[in-house]
């Protein structure tokens, strides 16, 4: 049994002007203990919404269906009530833009200790000791626990945010664009730290990013999201070397590589609007391999190779399999 199983997750948002936005449309994936999993996609594809749902951190305008099984138990079954006990104990998170993840008027140490005290893991002196240890572990001198967030640099704050996520020794660490606002050198430091911590603590890591190379370097497996659904998932190696969905292939082709020599090409067009019903394949208008069947029938995510799945009709036509 996997540590985490997401089955057919749908998320809708009520729009102020009426109607709904179908932000996540049937996302399904699994996560094994200690695995490093990447969730890749461009802005608005639903990747952040998906992992916020894993912690039940959706706004009141949202409604969900589907299952999020943590050790076999559906934590979304009764909404807020069933998901709340798992927060930070089993699943912790490093948020996008760590600048604002801390309360500006409270000391860093106090904020890291907060979940420990809340979940009865440690209190007072013991909590302070553990906070010091965690800070040292992420490369911050323990005495800085007394500082306020604004006294930290961006990289330091992100380290502190990671230390905070580890406060209750969770099984799963969700990292939402953890390096987006950071400089390349600091980004490399943070990614290295995440990998090392995942190994040390036996954490399963879910890394959400728009940056393919980061996933390629950090994750064992990944899923590519487009228009609210996973269009392809599998080992990162397979995604790069043998993509089975045109979007995956084109996305890699649009990403310049330092030493690469191939043509870098953008994908024409833009993703479909999610406040309308999508008929057929959502990627069809931008796809270079679309054919008749893509217009009327929406492809489902189907296994295409060992551990690899894709949602593309081309895979049903053997001779049409893209290289």
């Amino acid at each position: 049994m996997s540590l985490l199983e997401v089955k057919d997750l749908h998320i809708w948002f009520d729009l102020e002007r009426g109607g709904e936005l179908h932000a996540v449309q049937g996302v399904t994936f699994e996560l094994a203990a200690g695995e490093r999993f990447g969730l890749v996609g461009e802005s608005g594809c639903g990747k952040t919404t998906t992992i916020l749902a894993l912690m039940g951190l959706l706004p009141p305008s949202a409604s969900v269906s589907g299952q999020v099984l943590l050790d076999g138990v559906n934590v979304l079954a009764r909404g807020e009530r069933s998901v709340a006990p798992h927060r930070w104990r089993d699943v912790a998170m490093v948020f996008q833009g760590a600048m604002n993840a801390f309360n500006p008027v409270k000391r860093i140490g106090e904020q890291i200790a907060e979940p420990m005290e809340l979940h009865g893991i440690a209190e007072g002196r013991e909590a302070r000791r553990q906070v010091g240890e965690l800070l040292e572990r992420v490369g911050i001198p323990a005495e800085r626990a007394q500082r306020f967030p604004h006294e930290f640099s961006g990289g330091m704050r992100q380290r502190a945010a990671i230390a905070m996520a580890l406060a209750c020794k969770p099984k799963i660490l969700l990292a939402d664009e953890p390096t987006t606002a950071l400089d390349v050198m600091v980004q490399a430091q943070i990614l290295q730290l995440l990998v090392a911590l995942a190994d040390d603590f036996g954490l399963a890591l879910v890394l959400v990013t728009h940056d393919l190379p980061i996933v390629a370097q950090v994750c064992d497996r990944a899923a590519v999201m487009y228009a609210g659904e996973i269009v392809e998932s599998g080992p990162t190696d397979a995604l790069f070397h043998a993509p089975r969905h045109p979007y995956t292939r084109l996305l890699f082709a649009a990403t310049p590589d330092l030493y690469g020599t191939e043509e870098v090409a953008s994908i024409p067009g833009a993703p479909p609007r999610l406040d309308r019903t999508i008929t057929g394949c959502p990627f069809r208008p931008r796809c270079d391999r679309a054919f008749g069947r893509c217009v009327g029938e929406r492809p489902a995510l189907k296994p295409v190779a060992a551990g690899q799945a894709a949602a593309c009709h081309l895979n049903d036509v053997p001779q049409e399999v893209p290289a």
Binding site: P59, P60, S61, S63, E80, P285, R286
Partner: protein, 316 residues
């Protein structure tokens, strides 16, 4: 020049409805019940003030009955200490109260808007000087100053309007300044500057239109403040003695002991009228302000939670 193939346009969904940009103020008034009510009430009072001679049943300066006569079918709100018809007094009183309210708010808008715009846009020394000046005005207690100035400089309507306007521009200046500070840093303003556009162009085409809705919101709110100020001045006996205003009516009732003879009708209506107008301004002004503040729209904590939906059938 070498001809190159045109780069493909993003085929974005271009079927979006054609741009419809009614004024911001109008859209808030239409869209928010609070603002709609506020605007309607305000409009009603303005109409009453405008058509006072047509609506008022009696001449407010004509003695039509006994002192403090109770409300009756002829005099819906009874008579005041001079035997004048309260309803007619109220209707005519709306004129002065609203004139003071709107005119003083206009004065405050002009001073405060200019100070805020210049201070925020030019920054540096201009900002320091103007903001220090604003700070001084803020610490002077308003009513005592009005008292002193009205007592010493005379109590004509113009004077009262000017005094109120000159005292209450500080809020406008500060709010507008902070908004301009952020607009000034917007990239499109920097881009226009890099283009070679002058200050006047940037201020009038880019900055002012951007802060205008906020300016309207604060001005609506200062109408309320100005009406308050007028009742205070009148109550302390420093209003123009020849004019009827709601403040003056409250003062009359108080100083001529309406309370001791239980003539509630002489004292409750003018207060309620002030409450209605002030409430209307506050509701309208606050709705506008709130609509302009995107920080009020997100909430990570709410009484309501996300819902769990039963799945009907398979995925779409």
């Amino acid at each position: 020049m070498t001809g190159t193939a045109p780069v493909l346009a993003d085929e974005q969904d271009l079927e979006a409805p054609p741009p419809r940009r009614g004024s911001f103020v109008w859209s808030v008034i239409k869209g928010q019940p609070q603002a709609t009510i506020g605007a309607l009430v305000l409009l009603a009072f303005v109409l009453v003030a405008l058509f006072a001679p047509v609506i008022a049943p009696y001449d407010p300066r004509e003695k039509v009955g006994d002192v403090f006569e109770a409300p009756s079918s002829e005099h819906w709100l009874g008579l005041d200490d001079g035997g004048f018809d309260m309803l007619s007094l109220m209707i005519y009183g709306a004129r002065v109260s609203l004139i003071v309210g709107f005119a003083a708010a206009l004065v405050a808008m002009l001073i405060g808007g200019t100070v805020g715009l210049l201070s925020g846009y030019f920054g540096g020394k201009t900002d320091t000087v103007l903001m220090r000046m604003t700070d001084y005005f803020i610490v002077i207690p308003d009513i005592p100053l009005m008292l002193v100035v009205a007592a010493i400089w005379g109590r004509s309507l113009t004077n009262i309007i000017l005094i109120i306007g000159v005292i209450y521009w500080t809020t406008t200046a500060r709010v507008i300044r902070s908004q301009v500070l952020s607009v000034r840093e917007r990239v499109y303003v920097q881009r226009t500057r890099a283009l070679g556009a002058g200050h006047w162009r940037i201020l009038s085409r880019h900055v002012l239109p951007q802060v205008a809705p906020l300016l309207v919101a604060i001005t609506v709110l200062s109408v309320a403040v100005a009406i308050f100020a007028e009742t205070a001045i009148a109550f302390l006996g420093l209003g123009d003695p020849t004019l009827i205003s709601w403040g003056k009516l409250i003062e009359n009732a108080f100083s001529r002991s309406a309370i001791s003879v239980d003539a509630w009708w002489a004292i409750v209506p003018p207060g309620l009228a002030v409450v209605a107008v002030v409430l209307a301004c506050t509701m309208l002004g606050r709705s506008l302000e709130d609509a302009l503040n995107p920080r009020l729209r997100v909430g990570h904590l709410s009484v309501r939670r996300f819902r769990v939906r039963e799945v009907e059938g398979k995925s779409l």
